[in-house]
C-alpha cells in the first residue's frame, strides 16, 4: 500500500484530508485547469459588479435553460488535463463565455431521478429513485408559474426516461396540481410514434442504466402522442424519420428541445441528458463517447439559443451534472462505473452559467450546493422559492 500511495502523491494527500477539504481540492484543481486551458480569471472580487444589475430592465423577457447530466462525468474525463480531449466544445467555446463554479456539492441521495428532483426543488428529496413519483416539495416550475402567473406553455421539461415523468409537478398542497411544467419523454414519444412497426426498440428504451433491464410503466402527466403535431408541429412520420438519423437518446432530447424553443418558446426549459450514465455498463469507451456527445450537444444547444430570435441575447444557460462518479482510489467503488460510495468525487461537481446576466470568463471556487440552483433561478426570474433549502448564488445575482 505504501508504494501505491507514495507513487500517487495527490492520492496520499487526499486520504489525509476531510471530505470537505477534498471537495475544495477538486474545486481548486478545476479552477487551475480552467485558468490554464481556457484563460479564465478567478472570481470573487468581481462579485459586487454583476452584469445582472444592468439586465434588470429585461427581466420579463428573460429565458432560463437548464441542462443537467444524469450520470456525472469525473474531472479526469472532463475538466482536467487528461480529460480536455473529451470536451473541446465546453472548454473552448462555452467555458470562456461562462461563469464557472468549480465546487458544486450534492449532499443528497446519489441516484439520478432523486438527484434531479432535488435540483428541481432545491431540497434534498428522499423519494424512491426507481419509482415514477412526484417530488415532495414544490419544483421551480411551480414557483415560477404560480408566482409570476405564467401559462403552462411557459415551462417545459425534456427528460430521458419514464422515471422522470413526474418531475414537473410536486405533491405539495400549496403548489402541485396545475402549476407544474409539461414533461416530454422523447424516448416514450418515439416508442408511441413507432408502435405497430417491426422495429425493436427494447434496447433503446432501457429506462435506467443503473438497472438496465428495467423500465417502469408510466401513467398520467406524460406528453401525449397527439401533441406531437399540435405542439411540436411534427408529423409522426417526420419525427420517426428524423429519429433514425440520430445516434442517441440525448440527441433526440436536444432535437425535441429545439422544436420546443421554436414552437413554444418557453421561458423556463429544463433538459436532462442521460447518455453518460452508460458508464454503469462498465464500458469505458462508451462512457467517453457519451461525454464527447454531450459536450457537442451542449454547444449545439447554445448555438440554437443564438439562432432563435426569442432566445438570442436574453437567455441564461446553466449546465451542471447532477453529481459526480466514484474516484478510482475508493476501494468501495469501481472507479468511473458507479456513484455508490458517496465519496467526495461522487458528490462534488461543477456548474457553468453563461449568457444573459452572467459575467463571462470567470472561475468561482467558493463552495455551492446543488440545491442552490432553484433559489438562484428564483432570484434571476423574480419568483420566491419559498420551500427551497438552498441559498441564491450571489455571484450570479
Amino acid at each position: 500500500m505504501a508504494s501505491f500511495i507514495s507513487d500517487r502523491s495527490s492520492s496520499a494527500q487526499l486520504r489525509s484530508l476531510a471530505p470537505r477539504e477534498i471537495a475544495r481540492h477538486f474545486g481548486r484543481t478545476r479552477r487551475d485547469f480552467l485558468r490554464d486551458a481556457a484563460g479564465m480569471a478567478l472570481g470573487g472580487a468581481l462579485v459586487s459588479a454583476s452584469p445582472l444589475v444592468r439586465a434588470a430592465g429585461v427581466i420579463k423577457k428573460r429565458k432560463i435553460i437548464v441542462i443537467t447530466f444524469g450520470g456525472g462525468a469525473r474531472d479526469q474525463e472532463t475538466f482536467a488535463p487528461e480529460g480536455r480531449v473529451n470536451i473541446p466544445h465546453m472548454l473552448g467555446e462555452l467555458a470562456p463565455q461562462s461563469s464557472f463554479f468549480t465546487q458544486v456539492t450534492n449532499h443528497g441521495i446519489l441516484g439520478h431521478y432523486v438527484a434531479t428532483a432535488s435540483l428541481a426543488t432545491g431540497v434534498y428529496e428522499t423519494l424512491n429513485n426507481f419509482s415514477a413519483v412526484p417530488p415532495d416539495h414544490p419544483t421551480l416550475f411551480e414557483y415560477f408559474r404560480k408566482d409570476l402567473g405564467r401559462p403552462i406553455s411557459d415551462a417545459w421539461v425534456v427528460a430521458p426516461s419514464n422515471g422522470f415523468n413526474r418531475i414537473g409537478e410536486s405533491d405539495s398542497r400549496s403548489y402541485g396540481a396545475g402549476f407544474g411544467a409539461r414533461v416530454i419523454l422523447p424516448k416514450h414519444l418515439l416508442s408511441a410514434a413507432s408502435s405497430g412497426t417491426k422495429a425493436d426498440y427494447a434496447h433503446l428504451l432501457h429506462d435506467n442504466y443503473e438497472t438496465p433491464l428495467y423500465a417502469p410503466q408510466i401513467s398520467g402527466g406524460e406528453f401525449e402522442l397527439q401533441q406531437l403535431e399540435k405542439v411540436l408541429k411534427l408529423s409522426v412520420d417526420d419525427f420517426t424519420q428524423h429519429a433514425k438519423s440520430l445516434a442517441s437518446p440525448d440527441e433526440l432530447s436536444v432535437y425535441i428541445a429545439r422544436q420546443l424553443m421554436r414552437q413554444e418558446s418557453p421561458s423556463l426549459l429544463w433538459i436532462t441528458m442521460h447518455d453518460i450514465d452508460i458508464a454503469h455498463s462498465g464500458a469505458f469507451s462508451l462512457y467517453i463517447d457519451a461525454i464527447r456527445r454531450t459536450d457537442r450537444l451542449c454547444a449545439a444547444l447554445w448555438q440554437a439559443v443564438q439562432q432563435e430570435p426569442e432566445y438570442a441575447g436574453n437567455t441564461t444557460l446553466l449546465i451542471l451534472p447532477d453529481f459526480g462518479r466514484d474516484a478510482d482510489e475508493d476501494a468501495g467503488g469501481n472507479g468511473f462505473q458507479h456513484h455508490r460510495t458517496g465519496d467526495p468525487a461522487s458528490r462534488t461537481t461543477w456548474m457553468m452559467a453563461l449568457g444573459q446576466g452572467v459575467r463571462p470568463g470567470v472561475v468561482y471556487d467558493s463552495p455551492v450546493q446543488s440545491i442552490d440552483l432553484v433559489p438562484t433561478i428564483g432570484a434571476m426570474m423574480d419568483f420566491n422559492a419559498a420551500q427551497s433549502q438552498g441559498r441564491p448564488i450571489r455571484e450570479l445575482l
Binding site: 433491464l213 464500458a283 458507479h338
Partner: protein, 402 residues
C-alpha cells in the same frame, strides 16, 4: 430483534461451518450494533463457500474483535452505534438474510442523510482492523498480467497513459509467441507455489488450454449461465410488483444450481462466478466489463499471487439510428472500443492489486496483444521512462519479476 437478543438457534439455517463460527462468537455478536453486525454476518453466512484467504480474514476479524476489552470494543463501534436506524429494520430477518437487510439499511441511510456518517464509521473500522491484522509473509511477490487489445492493430489514442506514470513504457517489444509465454509463466508460478486459488487466468473470450493448477474463469465458458440468468431476469421483470430493488434481491439469492452449475464441482468458484453476474453491472452484456469485474473481485476476495487476464472484443453497442433501422447483425464485435475499455481496466487491475498486502514488492505487466507496446511496473524499474529496447515477452517478464 436487536443483537443483544441473539441466541444460538437464530443461526440454525446457516451452513454448518458458518453456524459453528457464529455460535462460538455469540457473545461478541450480542455486543455489536445493528448498523454493523449484518455486514459481518453477510460474510459469515457464506463462510462455507469462501476462498481460503477469505476464511482466514473472517476468522481473524472475529478473533480480533473477541479479544478487545469491552470499553475498547465500544470505542471501535461508537460511530456505528450512533446511527439512528428505523424500527422497521429491527423487525426484518437480518440474521437469516443479512444481504437484504444491508440493502434496506443502505436505502434508509441515504434517505436520512446518514450515509456519510456510515461511510466514515466503515472507513475508520476498516483502518483499525487492518492495522490489527497479522501480515504473513508471501511465498512470492504478486504478479499481475493484463493482455489487452486482441484483434486491433491501431489505437486512436496513446495507450497506458495512467500506468506509464508508475512504471516503464516499452515501445519495441517483440510480440511473437507472447501469449504462450505469459500463460506458461503463470502456470510455472502455480507449479512452484501450489496454493489453492492463488493463481488465476481470466479470459474475456474463449480460454487457451491451461493446466488445472490455474483457477480459470472465462466469458465464453459461462455463456450458458449468462443465458439462463438473462432469461430469469426477463421473467422476473414481467412479474407484477417487480422493481429494480426487488430484482436485485432476487438475484442476490440465486445459487449455482439454479443456473445449471451443479456439475462444476467447485462450490467456492461456482458461487464466485454466479456473483460476477448477479452482483456485477454490465458483466452479463460486455465481455470487457466481465473480465474487469472478475479481476477486481478475484483480487479483492482471493488475493491471488498471480493473476493473468486477457481481454477479448466485446459486442458492439448499436447507436440509436441502427436500432431504429432494426438492422440485424448478431455477434458484431467492437475491437476498437474494447481496446479503450481494456486499457482503463488494466489500470484498475493494477490499482486493485496495489491495495493488497505486499504491494511494495509486487509487479505488473500490461501488453497490447500482438503489438509492440507494453508497460512494466516493478520495484526494480524506473517510473515515467520509455524504453526502446527490443525485448521478447520472456525478457520483459524477467524484468518484471527479477
Amino acid at each position: 430483534m436487536l443483537p443483544r437478543d441473539l441466541h444460538a438457534a437464530n443461526f440454525d439455517a446457516y451452513p454448518p461451518q458458518a453456524r459453528q463460527l457464529a455460535v462460538q462468537h455469540l457473545t461478541l455478536f450480542q455486543q455489536l450494533p445493528l448498523s454493523f453486525l449484518p455486514s459481518l454476518l453477510r460474510e459469515l453466512i457464506e463462510y462455507d463457500y469462501k476462498f481460503p484467504v477469505e476464511r482466514i480474514r473472517i476468522e481473524q476479524e472475529l478473533s480480533i474483535l473477541s479479544d478487545l476489552p469491552a470499553p475498547q470494543l465500544a470505542q471501535w463501534f461508537h460511530a456505528f452505534a450512533a446511527l439512528d436506524l428505523a424500527m422497521s429494520l429491527e423487525r426484518t430477518d437480518w440474521v437469516a438474510k443479512p444481504a437484504q437487510f444491508i440493502e434496506k439499511e443502505s436505502a434508509y441511510l441515504w434517505s436520512t442523510h446518514q450515509q456519510d456518517s456510515f461511510r466514515e464509521a466503515a472507513v475508520s473500522y476498516g483502518d483499525r482492523l487492518q492495522s490489527a491484522r497479522p501480515l504473513p509473509s508471501l511465498p512470492t511477490a504478486r504478479l499481475g498480467i493484463a493482455i489487452i487489445g486482441q484483434g486491433t492493430a491501431t489505437t486512436p489514442e496513446p495507450l497506458f497513459l495512467a500506468l506509464r506514470k508508475h512504471g516503464t513504457f516499452f515501445s519495441q517489444i517483440k510480440p511473437e509467441g507472447g501469449l504462450e509465454v505469459l500463460l506458461a509463466a503463470t502456470e510455472a508460478r502455480a507449479a512452484a507455489h501450489p496454493i489453492d486459488y492463488a493463481h488465476w487466468y481470466i479470459d474475456g473470450g474463449a480460454p487457451n488450454p491451461t493446466t488445472k493448477a490455474l483457477t480459470t474463469v472465462s466469458y465464453s465458458t459461462l455463456a450458458p449461465v449468462r443465458d439462463k440468468l438473462l432469461s430469469f431476469m426477463q421473467t422476473q421483470i414481467a412479474r407484477p410488483g417487480m422493481g429494480p430493488e426487488e430484482l436485485r434481491t432476487e438475484l442476490a439469492q440465486m445459487s449455482p444450481a439454479q443456473l445449471g452449475m451443479e456439475r462444476q464441482g467447485d462450490p467456492a468458484l461456482d458461487r464466485f462466478q454466479v456473483k460476477i453476474f448477479t452482483e456485477g453491472s454490465g458483466t452479463q452484456i460486455f465481455s470487457t466489463t466481465f473480465a474487469q469485474w472478475t479481476t477486481r473481485e478475484a483480487l479483492r476476495r482471493a488475493e491471488p499471487l498471480t493473476l493473468l487476464v486477457r481481454y477479448a472484443p466485446r459486442q458492439r453497442q448499436k447507436p440509436m439510428n441502427e436500432l431504429l433501422a432494426n438492422t440485424i447483425s448478431p455477434g458484431e464485435l467492437d475491437p476498437a472500443g474494447s481496446l479503450v475499455d481494456a486499457n482503463m481496466a488494466a489500470y484498475y487491475h493494477w490499482v486493485n492489486q496495489q491495495r493488497l498486502h505486499g504491494a511494495e514488492q509486487s509487479s505488473f505487466l500490461v501488453w497490447w496483444e500482438g503489438q509492440h507496446q507494453a508497460v512494466v511496473i516493478a520495484p526494480t524499474l524506473p517510473r515515467r521512462v520509455t524504453s526502446g529496447s527490443a525485448l521478447t515477452l520472456k525478457q520483459l517478464l524477467s524484468l518484471a519479476t527479477g
